[in-house]
């Protein structure tokens, strides 16, 4: 008899070679995985020519935003990071107060690891951008945003648990103020790159929210006319392709509005994204409404609340809380779908930038699109993957599906 096998052998046996069939499966998939890994590594390290991205990093990030106004972008990012940190700090403090925080009992080192585990794609992406950058601008921007974010987090954690309404108002107004601040320098139609994708996604998700809630309430209304109108809106917009709506808003919108009143291309895109996502949002909210026990509105009625108050004070807050993860999912698909606006409306968003820079004089005639598209895909992946993971975390925290 042989001696006790080493742990590594046991692991191999259990996880890769439990039976002959399992062994064959392992060998076959190992060949496939190795091929894919080898080809990817070779593309990244050997055959890929990444100079085009270094040269055009600014176009990819902010499009043709003029030089003199670039500080506005950095300042906006820093302010957004500060407010984000502030909100995170307040939320943390409230969780500590309520005893629901998952990280409060951990040491500083463990908490740093936890943050690293949550946000490593973003940090790695920022590091990659800095490595590719040839100017100091990105360094200043990233450092400023990081510092502002940390400052916001520290201040937020020291605010009283019951936050002053002014702070809440400030946090709500900030996105609008930042957009106004940026648009004051260059109109929306001059925006481009990743900035435009993020802007369109965030603006549309904010705008579609009231629309979706209204349509969801309308679809469950006892008034037949309201129900029909809401249902027609939801089913109509869910049944047609977003891409066709965008094409149509480019080619046919001029007919639907009075002469000379046609809005700019970014506004068109945002309107289409809002109407389209609103229909999906309505279905998400409806799911939340249906998951609410009937006893809740009945008890509220029994306490003498008016139907309006029942809806806005009892039903909606609980229903919306339950569907936050699904809403994040909607934001992710909206973020990815903003790429459609480049082709359909000629907007200078990330995918469109990537196609146009390969025809620059310095790079024309060379097949560099794989490199650029890989970079673009990476940027989208970082955003979507991080949001998806945060949403799963939230889902576990809210205990959705466990009651």
């Amino acid at each position: 008899m042989s001696a006790t096998p080493s742990p590594a052998l046991v692991w191999l046996r259990r996880n890769l070679f439990r039976s002959p069939a399992d062994g064959i499966l392992t060998v076959v998939s190992a060949v496939v995985v190795a091929t894919v890994l080898y080809r990817t590594a070779r593309f990244v390290a050997v055959t890929g020519r990444w100079e085009i991205i270094e040269v055009n990093l600014r176009l990819l990030m902010v499009g043709r935003f003029p030089d003199i106004h670039l500080p506005r972008v950095s300042i906006s990012l820093a302010v957004a990071a500060f407010v984000g940190g502030l909100v995170a700090g307040v939320v943390h403090r409230r969780q500590v107060a309520a005893g629901t925080s998952a990280v409060a009992h951990l040491g500083t080192g463990r908490r740093a690891l936890d943050l690293l585990e949550r946000f490593w794609p973003v940090l790695a992406g920022a590091a990659l951008l800095l490595a590719l950058s040839r100017t100091t601008g990105p360094w200043v921007t990233v450092a400023g945003a990081l510092a502002a974010g940390m400052a916001g987090r520290l201040i937020g954690a020291r605010l009283p648990a019951v936050v002053h309404p002014g702070v809440v108002l400030g946090a709500v107004i900030t996105p609008f103020a930042l957009v106004a601040y940026l648009a004051d320098a260059v109109g929306w139609d001059g925006w481009g790159g990743l900035m435009l994708n993020v802007f369109m996604a965030v603006a549309s998700i904010i705008l579609c929210f009231p629309l979706g809630v209204l349509a969801a309430l309308g679809r469950r209304s006892t008034l037949p006319a309201v129900r029909w109108v809401s249902t027609a809106y939801i089913e109509l917009f869910r049944g047609v392709p977003l891409f066709v709506l965008l094409l149509m808003s480019g080619a046919a919108l001029g007919f639907f509005v009075p002469v000379d009143a046609a809005p700019g291309r970014v506004v068109r895109a945002i309107v289409v994204f809002t109407l389209f996502t609103g229909a999906y949002m309505a279905e998400i909210v409806r799911g939340g409404l249906q998951s609410l026990p009937k006893g809740q509105p009945e008890a509220a009625r029994a306490l003498g609340l008016s139907p309006t108050k029942v809806t806005f004070l009892i039903v909606l807050p609980q229903a919306l809380r339950n569907v936050i993860p699904a809403q994040v999912g909607q934001l992710i698909s909206l973020f990815k779908d903003t790429t459609l606006a480049g082709f359909a409306l000629g907007l200078f968003e990330l995918l469109n930038v990537s196609r146009s820079i390969t025809s620059q004089d310095a790079f024309r005639g060379q097949p560099l699109l794989p490199e650029v598209l890989a970079f673009v895909a990476l940027l989208f992946w970082i955003g979507s993957y991080t949001m998806a993971r945060e949403s799963q975390r939230l889902e576990r925290k809210l205990g959705v599906g466990e009651r």
Binding site: N15, L16, R18, D22, L25, T26, S29, A30, V32, V33, L223, P224, A225, V226, V229, L236, R238, G239, V240, P241, L242, F243, V244, L245, L247, M248, A251, A252, G254, F255, F256, V257, P258, V259, I332, K336, D337, T339, L340, F343, L351, R355, P367, L369, P370, L373, A374, V376, A377, F380, W381, S384, Y385, A388
Partner: protein, 385 residues
């Protein structure tokens, strides 16, 4: 003392009146908005001298559609029919392949084999979080046109297919697809009937149903018979220098849209499959173990039927998304409905009716798909007591 309130409340506080008034107001606003839009369309069209009707469908299209019998002198109507056929070519085959790949990857995510499990997880986490449009554009410009070799040095894996920058040629049955379609219908009906019969036998006698042991050979037999009848020929592509004979050719455009849609949708389907298998109550598996069912029996009789019920509605949504995303073929030059429409608009067809027609066609397509999913769903749904 006030008098007892016996009469109706004043009009502005009467719920019955308010309900009607509110609905009339809502309908009024909607009618106003729609009326303004229609009025604007008419005014603008008159001003520009553009017709608003659908007479343009009979005008000659004036553009060719590659890889088809369509001629530019044929009317727009025929171009749209050709576009619909191309759309369906992507959607139907895409749904089938995305389901196959998605189910495989989804089951792979739960495999006991570490390598398979990890590879499946990486596949899902990467592809699910990249825009499908980027995938399609990548598949076209980076794979089909750039990475695939010239025809003179095409890849020919196992001599079965030919990959080159002129497209992909795969084996296909000779003598058309009609006998196979008929065979497929007959086989489906036969398999359905056999399973009904075997289930009835099992219910009556308590003997094992062995549905699969009866249905699979029957289906294989019918399909082989259909293939024999169709002439027994499998056409394998054969390359000589720069010309390929036999097989069926996917253009680079078709390959791009098909590949992009399939790998993207499959990543979503895989997640649904995994989630639905994990969502089956643990108690069910434990009870099955207590009844001494084997591993495969637990999967076949307890877990999969229940997870299927959970998975059908979200997978149906993915089918809908796939069919709608097929319009992205426009961007890589695949002549599906949206591209045919936008080109015909560029050639002088009126924009508003053209796009409304396009929206209408997709609405019908979506409704048909979701009707199919609903039928399946209703058959599977739990009958609540």
């Amino acid at each position: 003392m006030t008098t007892a309130r016996t009469g109706r409340p004043p009009l502005w506080r009467d719920v019955r009146v308010l309900r009607v008034a509110f609905q009339v107001a809502v309908l009024g606003i909607i009618a106003l908005v729609l009326g303004t839009l229609v009025g604007n369309v008419q005014a603008n069209s008159e001003r520009l001298g553009i017709p608003t009707g659908f007479e343009y469908l009979d005008n000659p299209a004036q553009f060719p559609i590659p890889d088809s019998e369509f001629r530019p002198t044929q009317p727009v109507r025929d171009a749209l029919v050709e576009g619909l056929a191309n759309t369906l070519r992507v959607v139907v085959l895409g749904i089938v392949m995305a389901t196959v790949l998605g189910v495989l990857v989804g089951i792979g995510r739960l495999s006991g084999n570490w390598l398979v499990r990890t590879a499946a997880r990486v596949y899902v986490e990467i592809l699910r979080n990249i825009p499908v449009f980027v995938l399609i554009v990548f598949a076209y410009f980076a794979l089909a046109l750039t990475a695939f070799p010239a025809i003179s040095e095409a890849w020919e894996p196992l001599g079965l297919a030919v990959f080159s920058n002129r497209g992909v040629v795969v084996p296909w049955v000779d003598g058309g697809i009609a006998p196979l379609v008929v065979g497929g219908v007959v086989a489906t009906v036969l398999a359905f009937g056999l399973s009904r019969w075997r289930t009835a036998v099992a219910d009556r006698t308590g003997a094992p149903a062995h549905t699969v042991r009866f249905a699979v050979p029957a289906v294989v037999l019918v399909m082989v018979a259909a293939w024999l009848l169709s002439g027994l020929a499998l056409s394998v592509p054969d390359r000589e220098a720069s010309s390929v004979s036999g097989g069926i050719r996917m253009t680079p455009e078709y390959f791009a849209i098909f590949f992009g849609l399939v790998v993207y949708t499959a990543s979503h389907i895989a997640e649904i499959v995994r989630g639905s298998i994990q969502a089956v109550d643990r108690g069910q598996v434990e009870a099955a173990s207590a009844l001494a069912l084997s591993g495969s029996q637990r999967l076949r009789y307890i877990v999969l039927p229940q997870s299927f019920r959970i998975a059908v509605p979200p997978i149906g949504n993915q089918y809908l998304n796939l069919s709608k995303n097929s319009t992205l073929g426009t961007a890589v030059g695949y002549f599906e409905l949206a591209r045919v429409t936008s080109i015909s608009v560029g050639n002088g067809a009126p924009a508003v009716p053209s796009y409304l027609l396009l929206l209408g066609i997709f609405l019908v397509l979506s409704l048909t798909l979701s009707f199919g999913v609903n039928v399946v769903n209703r058959r599977l749904a739990l009958v609540e007591r």
